[in-house]
């Protein structure tokens, strides 16, 4: 298993970067959210790979926690999006700048 770990890790890095790019460039809040999910998936992949390569169970446990966090994030995040949409009629994140100076 250890011989493939670098493929997994590099794949994880690439996926993470793609997710990152999505977060940075897309204006649609839901796509940004999806990009974050891609990043989380990449992180999960890295964790699992490390767990396998190092023969230690912490990575798996971490992945479970991340999934729980992702679920919580989805619930709250989507509620917020729905609310924002009701308020502004759009989910373009550049329009949510009430907290700027």
């Amino acid at each position: 298993m250890a011989e493939y770990q670098n493929i997994y890790l590099i794949l994880s890095a690439i996926l993470f970067t793609i997710g990152c790019g999505g977060v940075i460039t897309r204006k649609n809040a839901i796509v940004v959210f999806l990009s974050i999910e891609i990043m989380l998936g990449a992180v999960n992949l890295a964790f699992i790979t490390f767990s396998r390569a190092n023969n230690s169970p912490e990575g798996i446990f971490m992945v479970m926690c991340i999934m729980a966090v992702a679920a919580a994030e989805a619930a709250v995040g989507l509620a917020i999006f729905v609310l924002l949409y009701r308020q502004t009629g759009s989910i373009n994140i550049d329009k949510f700048n009430l907290l700027k100076w």
Partner: protein, 664 residues
């Protein structure tokens, strides 16, 4: 053996907690539970004290010392302060009458405060808190715990004087008492710190009495004098001596039982107690002893003169208290520690009684305190009248009453001890004469002749309720009998008090504290008998008695026979009269010399130093950062993705750093 001694302070504390935390509800439910808790806790404390006292008396005189450590209070390196209680003759002596008289006054308060709606629990909480602090002060086995009690009683004094804080004058009186006490406490704290530091230099990191007194020879005589003087300055505030006595007469603003408890019987004797407790320190410093004696004598005389002209019944008693405290300090100053403490005891009985009687009178007169509007109360308030006469006789030192023995002892010591001299005695005797005069003036104006009160007040005059009169009778009994434990040798007595206190007083035989090896002065009580014969003592006693009688007679003529004399005298010597009536203008003196400059200085500090310099500095700093913020806020664009980019860039930098540190 005395391991349950912690109960004594603890019981009033329980009272404080229960009444203080739940009092409002309890009072709504059932008012009498409040005083059952309040009085019960103190009564139990008295009971415990009594048991310990009896147990201690059954020990050999040179074994009557027990130091009980409850728990460690604070620890800083080698310096450890414990909460511990010291049982020895002097602390038990004080504790006995503190709890005893305190208990009686608690009971008396039930009747006096019953009609106060909504503040009843507050009153008893404060009283119990006071008992807790006072017991701590008396029983503490180290300076710091004693100082806790010392500050605590100051606080309670403030709370109780300003008890009816709705009245602005009363609130001001409370503040005055508090601030004056603070000034004294400041000196006291400095003295204590000096003591700690200088003992610490010699590796003695303890401020327990036993340790301090055993190692007092490590300190240089000058330092001891300085510490003693500083301590004494603290005592002048607490025990109302010149120059810090000014708060005590104003303290009469509080409820009368408070005046009785705090400002006559217990708290004000704290200074006397402390000087007596530190007698080993004081005997090593003749200069400090001189100072104590002179200040005490001056205060005694000075306060008595003011009392001559005052018309407020409580003020008169207040000045009388100041005067009697002066006596005590005079006794201590000449080395008669036992006599001083003896006078504390007897004084606590009759002065508490006097105040309580005055309270009954005020109670009966519907709050009237001016003696000019009283008179003829003898028939209407018989119990009050008789007990008050007994107390007065005790106070002026009428032969056979308690005050006679204690006062006489002090006067004799002032004359005969090596530290005393004829001048001190003379002042004492003059004061005694004045005491007799103004006390009988009070009696005559209050109880004799026709009633000068208004019609409405006159109708309501009545004897006080049982809960008030019973303590009066008990105290009256004690005022008479209390003196017989200290009959001097010259009159065929054995002076039990002196024997009892001997193990802890001074450098005589059988002392409980390790003595200093230093060259202390000879103890007054020991030396007295050697130099003078009983003949002189009898003579002096006779002179005192005669002068006291003269004082009574003068009062009788002026206020019973020819009641026009006082007015004529006042007119004739109007300057002198006004001087006395205005308390020698001492308050005004302080006002002009201390308060005004201080106030001006404060205003200067406020307007210039604080507002312009310090505030200006702070505001300019704030403005600078506001300017920085207004520059930096442009970073806050409101675009989430800008923030995300920054975050990613930061992460890249950090990860880069670690990667390169991995390879390089």
């Amino acid at each position: 053996m005395f391991d349950y001694v912690w109960l004594i302070p603890f019981l009033p504390l329980v009272g404080v907690l229960v009444n203080g935390l739940f009092g409002r509800r309890i009072e709504k439910a059932n008012k009498s539970i409040i005083h059952w808790i309040g009085c019960g806790s103190v009564g139990l404390a008295f009971l415990v004290t009594f048991i310990i006292f009896i147990q201690m008396l059954r020990l050999e005189p040179d074994k009557r010392l027990y130091d009980y450590t409850w728990f460690t209070w604070m620890e800083s390196g080698n310096f450890i302060v414990t909460v511990g209680y010291l049982i020895d003759p002097i602390s038990m002596f004080m504790c006995m009458f503190v709890t005893g008289v305190g208990f009686l006054i608690h009971i008396y308060s039930i009747g006096y405060m019953w009609h106060d709606e909504g503040t009843y629990f507050r009153y008893f909480t404060y009283l119990n808190l006071f008992m807790f602090c006072m017991i701590n002060l008396v029983l503490a086995d180290n300076f710091l715990l004693m100082f806790l009690g010392w500050e605590g009683v100051g606080l309670c004094s403030y709370l109780l004087i300003a008890f009816w804080f709705g009245n602005k004058e009363f609130a001001i009186a409370g503040k005055k008492a508090f601030i004056t006490n603070r000034i004294g406490d400041f000196f006291f704290a400095i003295g204590m710190l000096l003591l700690i530091v200088n003992l610490g230099k010699h590796g003695m990191w303890s401020i327990k009495y036993t340790d301090v007194f055993a190692h007092v020879s490590l300190l240089s005589p000058d330092l001891i004098t300085l510490i003693c003087i500083l301590f004494f300055l603290g005592c002048t505030a607490k025990s109302a001596q010149i120059p810090l006595y000014v708060w005590l007469p104003d303290a009469m603003a509080g409820p009368t039982p408070v005046s009785a408890l705090i400002h006559a019987a217990t708290m004000v004797t704290a200074g006397v107690y402390f000087v007596a407790r530190c007698n080993i320190l004081y005997t090593m410093s003749p200069l400090a002893m001189q100072a104590v004696a002179i200040v005490g004598a001056l205060t005694a005389f000075f306060a008595a003169t003011i009392a001559l002209t005052h018309n407020d019944i409580k003020k008169v008693l207040a000045y009388s208290t100041v005067s009697q405290l002066g006596y005590m300090f005079m006794g201590l100053g000449v080395g008669a520690f036992a006599a001083g403490l003896f006078h504390v005891l007897t004084h606590s009985f009759f002065k508490a009684l006097l105040f309580m009687c005055a309270g009954c009178v005020i109670h009966g007169m519907s709050g009237e305190q001016d003696m000019r509007y009283m008179g003829g109360l003898r028939k209407k308030m018989p119990v009050t009248f008789y007990t008050m006469v007994i107390a007065t006789l005790a106070l002026i030192g009428f032969p056979g009453f308690s005050g006679f023995f204690s006062k006489d002892e002090i006067l004799w010591m002032a004359f005969s001890s090596p530290n005393g001299n004829i001048m001190l005695w003379l002042i004492g005797v003059l004061t005694a004469a004045m005491t007799a005069f103004y006390m009988f003036r009070l009696i005559f104006m209050t109880f004799f002749n026709e009633c000068r009160a208004s019609e409405e007040v006159r109708k309501h005059i009545h004897e006080a309720p049982k809960s008030m009169t019973i303590p009066l009778i008990i105290l009256a009994f004690l005022s008479v009998v209390g003196g017989y434990i200290g009959i001097p040798k010259a009159l065929g007595g054995s002076n039990i008090v002196e024997h009892y206190l001997k193990p802890v007083i001074g450098l005589g035989d059988g002392k409980l504290f390790q003595d200093a090896t230093g060259t202390a002065i000879t103890h007054g009580a020991e030396a007295a008998g050697h130099h003078f014969s009983h003949m002189i003592e009898y003579t002096l006693m006779a002179i005192t008695t005669i002068i006291v009688f003269a004082g009574i007679f003068l009062a009788y003529t002026m206020y019973m026979k020819k009641r026009t004399i006082p007015e004529k005298l006042a007119e004739k010597h109007s300057l002198f009269y006004r001087l006395l009536l205005n308390k020698w203008y001492i308050d005004e003196l302080y006002e002009w010399n201390v308060i005004k400059p201080l106030h001006t200085f404060s205003v200067f500090m406020w307007k210039i130093a604080d507002v312009i310099i310090i505030d200006g500095l702070v505001n300019k700093t704030a403005q600078f950062f506001m300017w920085c913020g207004s520059m930096l806020r442009h970073i806050q664009t409101g675009y989430v993705q800008r923030y995300a980019i920054t975050l990613v860039a930061g992460t890249v930098v950090i990860v880069m750093y670690y990667i390169f540190s991995l390879y390089i």
